[in-house]
Symmetry: C3
């Protein structure tokens, strides 16, 4: 798929994006072109990051993946914040959490479970992820929500900044723990496997592609953000629905595909790492970073989601933790996660 | 107990029920006669279903049990819905969840724990049940509650219907998983045990008894429902208390007895299956079915409990999951569950 | 530290406390003198209780520890309740729960984790503690909070008294379970270790010191409570911040030190027992006892925390349970708990 589809989308999408914005094509059309082009660019960025990781060794590689894995999400959000769409950004972060946990995770468990009766992944990873989700989503997001009800806007922002800094510090502490101090401590025999991977692109080529794709994504994201309003009107979608469902799916399309492929190949550790690792990156790195970046824009973003967004994320984490804590998956667990995602999609559509 | 008490109750209760409604005896008296008769009929229905299960083999049997296990609860609720008592039905569903989890589960753990220091049940069942409770009660009930605060009544009903359909589909998917695709996968040596059971009644007799009891329960339930108001006045009970505590205990009396007997015989797998399995049936089958059925009545029932009902159910699930997840029980865990049930009973009485 | 610092603090603190209250020294100064003296007295009380435990054998010893372990907290709270500071008492109980779980627990895990890559404690204890925390904090505190919104003040107090009685009964039932019916059932080889401990003080001396320290703590606590208001004004601290952070740290300083020393010595079972055991004692014994005692004072204390207090405690329990349930700790888990404590401290400071 990668070698055929994405180059074509890119060759068509880039000029169309430029042409469309110059000649003021209909915004609903442009919205679709932008989305398709970003998905293709995201695939290139993901591939470049992966190549760089292989070349740089596992420690730097892990750090690169953990930092640039959600670069597209981050770039779109920065432009949306700059344009003042604070509530759409919060909605799209919610959507990224829900999408990665329930849609990507659920599809991976379901597709993998159709082929294999029972799939396993490392139980120590499962527990570590459960703890991080409980901290990064439940504690760090519920706490400011409740306290902000009793605080002034300025105080709520101060609290948000403290939490943002603590989240980022703990995110890198978690990387330090996994990649340095406790590297390989809880695992056995997984290292060899990874050394076999060979880089497809050279370091130089990877960096070039990463840089160019990033610039292109940034350019298109800025245009994309400005189509939100008229697209909402055209399709009858609310801001929240665009953020939670549409932007989240576009921003994470590439990861969705690879997680499912990995599950199909019975490499459940990798599939779970993509689904839950990506969620953690959104919650503990992208979101707090956006809170800090937003301080430089006219309308800063406190770490205060709407109640439906927050409750949905908490429910998604509680369900995922209960399902994934035993390191054992099957098709029914996948079906349940997709059922929960569908319920939540309907809810946000009606909102 | 079965062979002596229930036939007598039935022989007295059925004619008294008819006579009382014809001659307009005091409603508080009729309420007690109806309750006793329904408990006796429920015992017959339970026995007939069990017999049919043995005759039909484990797959069909499991399906029968999972579908007719809470038939009484369902029938009473349908008549209550028809009479417009939406809030009593929601309260009695809450009561069934609380009663099965905390009262039946707690009594089984306590009584079993007095005889055996430590009782165990299958840990895979424990985890599977924990996941289903998290989905069927926490996710599926909390989500519409929160979203309904931001939706119109019509939209809340639409969301409820979607959730109801997804719940029923997942309930049957769980049966498919347990009885077909992953049958016996996680267990060992339990099959033989079951093959020894012999049916007490023939297939024909079981169906006859099931049919006749169902008709009788339906007839009495309709009368029972109409005594609620005056009974509430007589005893000073609120609607919610009648629903949560009284109707729930009447509707599940037979199951309560068998779970405790099983725990006393150290067959903890069966006791847990009755307590938690019955809860799941209420949450994932009876409740959503009632939502769908209520669409044909003048006042439809959205999947929106009151806040106290919802919070109590969520607390009951969180406590039960924390207690039961290790597949190991003792008297103290039972005492804690009964303590929680007592607290909740006092709360609903005061409400 | 014990042999040098605490006697000196005591020799200076006791006369200064008396002199200061006679000559009306500035209240902020007296506040600090009182706090230091109470910390030193608490250390003596802790030591006396420990000695009595060793002398009296494990059962009576466990009971003594479980009853007098938070005597200082209890005494300060009684005087605060008598003076009508109901909200400060609730805040300080919240602070004790948060401080013991997240600050003491987090520091123990972090300090221990710097020395040892991986520390373990008994998994059965971990599960038992998780269940008790879920019951004693989440169920027993959330339930009256929600129901009190729908009840009159008198009904909320009735519900609180019921819950208080059930909590205390279950607290002693848990002791019965641990010390009598299931003593040593889940452990192996830990008993011998304990028999080696020798008492430092005689039984008589321990009782004397315990009695004298208790009287001194009571005397100083009464004075301390009356400095709260002016101290709040001087430092710009709210009542809640004084209760949650300051009083809680003062009341538990001695335990904090010993938990961290135990973790450093790799005796993680003891460290966890101090952190979580102390939390449970606050939640299931001190708090309900204060509810009952408050009935004799002009302003009784219902079991109804403020929403921020309650949510913070629930989050702390959910995080701790997720971290501690596997009986395996490391520096990162400690860092995460301290991160959560810091976030919560900032929140209460801003409130």
């Amino acid at each position: 798929m990668f070698n055929r589809l994405f180059p074509m989308v890119l060759i068509a999408g880039l000029p169309l994006s430029v042409a469309g914005s110059l000649f003021h094509w209909p915004e609903a059309l442009m919205f679709m072109i932008y989305c398709a082009t970003i998905i293709a660019l995201a695939a290139y960025m993901g591939r470049a990051t992966e190549n760089l990781s292989i070349v740089s060794g596992p420690r730097i590689g892990g750090l690169l993946n953990a930092t640039f894995g959600n670069a597209v999400e981050l770039i779109i959000s920065i432009f949306a914040l700059k344009a003042g769409f604070v509530s759409i950004v919060l909605a799209s972060l919610t959507g990224a959490v829900l999408g990665n946990l329930l849609l990507v995770g659920g599809l991976a468990f379901l597709v993998g479970g159709f082929r294999f009766k029972r799939q396993r992944f490392d139980i120590h990873d499962a527990r570590f992820n459960a703890v991080l989700l409980m901290f990064g989503v439940v504690v760090a997001f519920v706490f400011p929500e409740i306290f902000s009800m009793y605080l002034t806007d300025q105080e709520a922002l101060t609290l948000s900044v403290w939490i943002a800094v603590i989240l980022i510090l703990l995110y890198f502490a978690a990387l330090l723990f996994r990649l340095v101090t406790h590297r390989g401590m809880y695992q056995s025999g997984k290292e060899e496997e990874k050394h076999e991977e060979t880089a497809e692109w050279s370091k130089r080529k990877s960096i070039m592609i990463l840089a160019l794709s990033t610039i292109a994504v940034a350019y298109i994201s800025e245009s994309l953000v400005h189509t939100f309003e008229s697209v909402g009107e055209t399709f009858g979608w609310s801001d929240v629905f665009i953020g939670v469902i549409i932007v989240a799916i576009v921003g994470n399309a590439a990861e969705h595909a690879s997680a499912i492929i990995m599950a199909y190949k019975n490499r459940m550790d990798v599939a779970v790492e993509i689904a839950i690792g990506s969620t953690l990156q959104i919650a503990m790195f992208v979101t707090p970073l956006l809170v800090l970046i937003s301080l430089f824009f006219p309308s800063p973003m406190p770490l205060v989601f709407t109640v439906p967004e927050l409750v949905t994320m908490v429910l998604a984490v509680l369900l995922t933790n209960t399902i994934a804590i035993d390191g054992d998956t099957n098709w029914f667990e996948g079906a349940m996660m997709l059922g929960a995602y569908l319920i939540m999609g309907v809810g946000f559509y009606l909102l």
